[in-house]
Structures are given as C-alpha cells and as structure tokens.
C-alpha cells in the first residue's frame, strides 16, 4: 500500500518539531570551549548527583513497583480500580503539586514526616534521599503501567503448569513469572529512569536546590540559564547524551515497538 501523502506530511512536521530544539541546542553550543565547560565542578557535580539519584530511584521503583504491578494485575482486591487510579495519579499531577503534597506528607512537620523526624531523626527535605523520594513519586507509575500490562496480557498457563509440577506460589513467581517478565521490567525501568532523570518540579519543591545534595542536572540547567547560558547548554548536552546512551541500546530489546520475533 502506498502511504497517503497527507499522513506523511504531518508525520514529517512532527519529526521536525521534535528534533528542532536539539538542533537549536547544537547550533548554540560553544564547541571550542566545551571541553573546559564540561570539566567544571558546577557541571560534574550535578551530573554525578543526577546519576546517583535516578539510579537509586530506579532501584527503589523495581523493588516497590514489581509487587504492586503483580498485585494490581492478579489479585482481586476490592476497589482495585480506585487503587489503580491513585497509583497512576502522579503521571497526570503537575510535578510541583506532587512536590508540595510530598512536603505536607513527608516534610518535617508533615503527616508522616514529623514522626520520621521524632522517632528516627530522619529528615527528607533538602537531602539527596529526598530527591530520590521525589523521583520515585513521579516515575513509579511509568514502571507499574509497563509491568502490569505485561502481566495482564501474559497467559498464566505456564504458571499453572509449574504448579502441577510441584512448585509452590513463591517458586512459580521466582522461576516462571519473573524471568518471563524481564523484558517488560526492562522497558518499565527505562521509562521510569528517564522520567526520574528529567525530574524537576517535585524535586525543587520537596528537596530544594542545594548544590551537591539536591541540585540535579535539570535544576542546575534551569539556574545556569540565567547566570551562565553557555554552561546551561553544556549541562543540557550532558543530559541529552546520558539519555541517549541509555535509551538507544535498550530500544531494540525492551522498549515497545519492533520486537524481535520470539
């Protein structure tokens, strides 16, 4: 079938729209002094922090999100639809609102935060752990949605088979369900990690903007834009490179789209 021209034309516009900002960035990049810019502490520090925070968030998300996705997909709990809506809420909530909500819940005088502070001496706002919490809050739904979808569409006949062979529920989960879920978990982690890396609003609201502790790449970029635009460009390029370096190798194996035939 010959592709209809209007469709191709609109698709082209969309591609241009998506790549134009990247070209704009490249065009304004001070390539000669880039090496010097990239070596600056004000660039290296947010980069290291962003990687730390996003990777830590991704780990927490896998640990929390996998049982959550499994429960939502497989357990007939009352009010499941409401619980699912609550779980997905951070996807549609403006991140600043999320950060504010986190502050009222986990802040020093927050609903739960005051007890964390009083009993464990644990304070989340203005700490790296707080930045991780903010990233987990906004990125967790992306992971849950990817993994839950795979669990629902996946037939559980193989799990039944494993049961008849003498494997108990936990063994079935460990030896059949999880190994077969790995591709979906990979896709979910990629999406959630990317979301965590780009997190801005909830982080600055809840965790603040302390260099070396909570000032991640997006925060540093936004601030540099006013004081030192060239540094902002360097920071943006760093984020672009990190994202592409992680997402391109994953694309073929884990991201939705053209899958290798099984």
């Amino acid at each position: 079938m010959r592709p209809p021209r209007p469709v191709l034309a609109v698709a082209t516009v969309a591609v241009v729209f998506l790549t134009l900002p990247v070209i704009g960035l490249a065009q304004r990049t001070p390539w000669s002094s880039l090496g010097d810019l990239l070596g600056r502490q004000s660039v290296v520090q947010p980069l290291v922090l962003s990687l730390t925070v996003s990777v830590a968030a991704a780990l927490v998300i896998v640990v929390l999100g996998t049982p959550l996705a499994w429960t939502l997909a497989r357990v007939d709990i009352p009010g499941r639809r409401i619980i699912r809506a609550l779980v997905l809420l951070p996807m549609v909530l403006p991140p600043v609102v999320g950060g504010t909500a986190l502050l009222f819940a986990l802040g020093r005088r927050g609903l739960v935060g005051q007890w964390l502070d009083r009993w464990f001496g644990l304070t989340l706002p203005f700490t790296t752990a707080g930045a991780v919490v903010a990233a987990v809050f906004v990125a967790l739904p992306f992971y849950v949605i990817a993994v839950e979808g795979a669990l629902e569409s996946g037939s559980d006949e193989l799990e039944q088979m494993a049961g008849t062979l003498g494997a108990g529920p936990l063994q079935v989960l460990r030896r059949i369900t999880l190994p077969r879920l790995l591709p979906a978990m990979g896709a979910g982690v990629a999406l959630a990690w990317a979301r965590a890396l780009g997190e801005f609003g909830a982080t600055i609201t809840f965790a603040g903007n302390l260099p070396g502790r909570t000032q991640t790449l997006p925060l540093a970029t936004f601030l540099a834009l006013e004081s030192d635009p060239e540094e902002a460009i360097a920071l943006s390029l760093v984020m672009l490179t990190v994202s592409l370096a992680v997402l391109i190798p994953m694309r073929d194996r884990w991201l939705p789209g053209r899958r290798p035939s099984r």
Partner: protein, 346 residues
C-alpha cells in the same frame, strides 16, 4: 470414610466449565492405563484439569493415591502443587526461558539422575542445553512427557499425546508409558487405535458424563452410544506374532501380510471382514468359524458382532444381511485378507 478408598484415582464429583457440567464417576487402579475418548467439547480436558486441581470440584469428592484432595462439602482442597499428578497438556506448555534439561528437572521432586536417565531414554540428551523453541514437535512432546514423569507422579495425565507425532517419538513415548510401574495413566485421545493399543480400559465421555467404561473389546462389540459405535470402527486384537503368523489371546491363528515378532496389536477394519455361509475359497487365507451375536444398524451399513475364536465386528450392507439370512445365532465363516491386517508392536 477414607478407609474404603482404593485405586490411584477415585473421582465421583461434579464441576462446571461455562455451559458444560461435568458429572463423572471414574476409578483408575495403580498401574492401569485408561483411555478417555469422547467428542469435542465433551469435557475431556476439563476432567484432566479437575484431576490436576486447576479446576475445583463443585460437588462430590476426589481421592488421589489414597488421599482425599478435593471435597467441597467438607471444604477440603489440596492445591495442584501438593498433588502427585503429572500433566502433559495438549499444547505442552514447555517453559520457553529454560533449557530442555531445566524443563525436565523443573519439579522440586525431580532428581538430577532421573533427569539424565529420561534424557537418554527418550533420545533427547543431545538437546539438553537447547531451548524448547529449537525442538521439533515430536521432541517437544518427549520433553513435556519427561518433565511430567520426572516428578514420579502417582497419576499421569496425557492430553492428546500423539497428535502430529513422528513414528520415532511415538515408539519412545509408548515405551515410557508401558514402563509405568504402579503409576496410573489417563490418556485423552481421539484415536481409537491408540486407545485400544495402549489402554487397559476405555472410558467414553459424552456431554460431561461417562457413557461407557470397559475393555476395548467390550466397547467395540457392545457400544452403548452412537459416538462409541462410530469410534468402534476398528477391530483390535492382541496377539503374539512369529513371522507371518500370529496367535491371538483367544487362541486363533492369524496369517499376516507382513512379518512380525513378539507381542503385537492387529488392527482389522470391519469393512475388511467378509462373511460367508459356506467356507470360501480363493485368496483370503484367514477364515474362521463364527456365530453372529448381534446386528446393529450403523447409518447405511449393518455392524455384525461375531462370537468365536476371534471377537470381530464385520460391517456389511443390509442387502448382504438379507442374502446371508443373518440373525443372532447364525453360523457363518468370517474371512479377512492377510494384507488388510495392520500390525502394531505392542
């Protein structure tokens, strides 16, 4: 209540799957092989799922290896993983992410030695480190069977095991099944020849109920339903062959079209059994004296059930019945050409 239970499997219960209501009474003894036959949608696969525990009973009780495992009335239900049942489903359900060896050794009850022995016995040792996707249909079937048997179940359930099997796989699988010891086997099949050759007993399931349970000969010669009559199409005789002749368990000597040795099953299509009032001459070399036991109309033909040294069923036209003046008690000669007899190693 438990003391009276005998057999590897004792089921008297009901279960529901959609519109179908299963209401089954079935006992299988240790070491016995039962072939479960029935039209599509009769509930054969559902019955197997009841035995595995994947489909709970809604009434009645099920005992496996002497233990009560399902009785809704008393709230008893033993989960599938705590039952000693080996299941080979029709679509095999091999684990795609595990190797052949890991598949066969999947059960916590399977030992490494047993897995290796099964790989060798079924001729799949060369595939041990491959994934199921690299196996042919026959090989995959062998893996599925080995996986079920490796757990040493008290009851083995096979759902259409011979569908699209190559002859090598068929022989290897038959060998493994024959060597089951005290294991009880329930075999779902569409193939009356397989049923008659492998099974000690046939159970006919129609519309969720057992309509007939008996020896292959019993079901063939006295089918109780239209379905049983249709699948009873073939005569199957157990015999011991020695070259071009074979001696049946009934003591009749049969001349074969192909040489064979040892225990065999002889399959004779009823249409190949010719009936005569006087002893025929000419090419048929197998001629036996027989008495007509029963006449059964079967569509445009008449099935003539014979008593004699060979319990055969002949299929003749209504015209032939008239000409030969056949009625129960008639003495006839039954003739079969040696080339019409197929020989299956037992």
């Amino acid at each position: 209540m438990t003391g009276q239970v005998t057999g590897a499997l004792r089921l008297a219960g009901t279960a529901r799957v959609g519109d179908l209501v299963l209401e089954v009474d079935l006992t299988v003894d240790p070491g016995e092989t039962v072939a479960l036959l029935g039209p599509n949608g009769a509930g054969k696969t559902s019955l197997l799922r009841v035995l595995t525990g994947l489909l709970p009973l809604s009434g009645g009780r099920l005992d496996l290896a002497g233990d009560l495992v399902d009785q809704p009335g008393s709230g008893t239900f033993v989960e599938p993983h705590r039952r000693s049942v080996g299941w080979v489903p029709q679509d095999r359900l091999l684990f795609p992410h595990l190797t052949v060896r890991q598949n066969i050794g999947f059960s916590p009850r399977a030992t490494a030695e047993r897995v290796t022995a099964l790989l060798d016995a079924l001729g799949i040792a060369g595939l041990a480190d491959r994934r199921p996707s690299a196996c042919s249909g026959g090989q995959a079937q062998r893996v599925a069977l080995a996986r079920a048997v490796a757990a040493e179940p008290a009851v083995l359930l096979l759902d259409e095991p011979s569908t699209a099997l190559d002859i090598d796989s068929q022989h290897l699988i038959d060998g493994l099944l024959a060597d089951g010891g005290a294991r009880a086997t329930v075999l779902v099949t569409h193939d009356p020849v397989e049923a008659a050759t492998v099974a000690d007993r046939l159970v006919i399931l129609e519309d969720g109920r057992v309509t007939h349970s008996g020896s292959p000969t019993d079901v063939r010669t006295r089918p109780r339903t239209r379905y049983a009559a249709s699948l009873a199409g073939l005569n199957t005789l157990t015999a011991v062959a020695d070259g071009y002749t074979a001696m049946t368990v009934g003591g009749a000597l049969v001349v074969l079209g192909e040489p064979a040795t040892g225990p065999v099953h002889l399959v004779v299509p009823p249409s190949a059994v010719a009936l005569h009032r006087t002893i025929p001459d000419g090419s048929p070399r197998n001629v036996w004296r027989a008495t007509v036991a029963e006449l059964q109309p079967a569509l445009d033909r008449i099935r003539v059930v014979l008593d004699g040294p060979l319990p055969l069923v002949a299929e003749v036209t209504p015209g032939a019945v008239e000409v030969l003046e056949l009625e129960p008690g008639s003495r006839v000669w039954a003739a079969v050409k040696a080339t019409e007899i197929t020989v299956h190693p037992a």
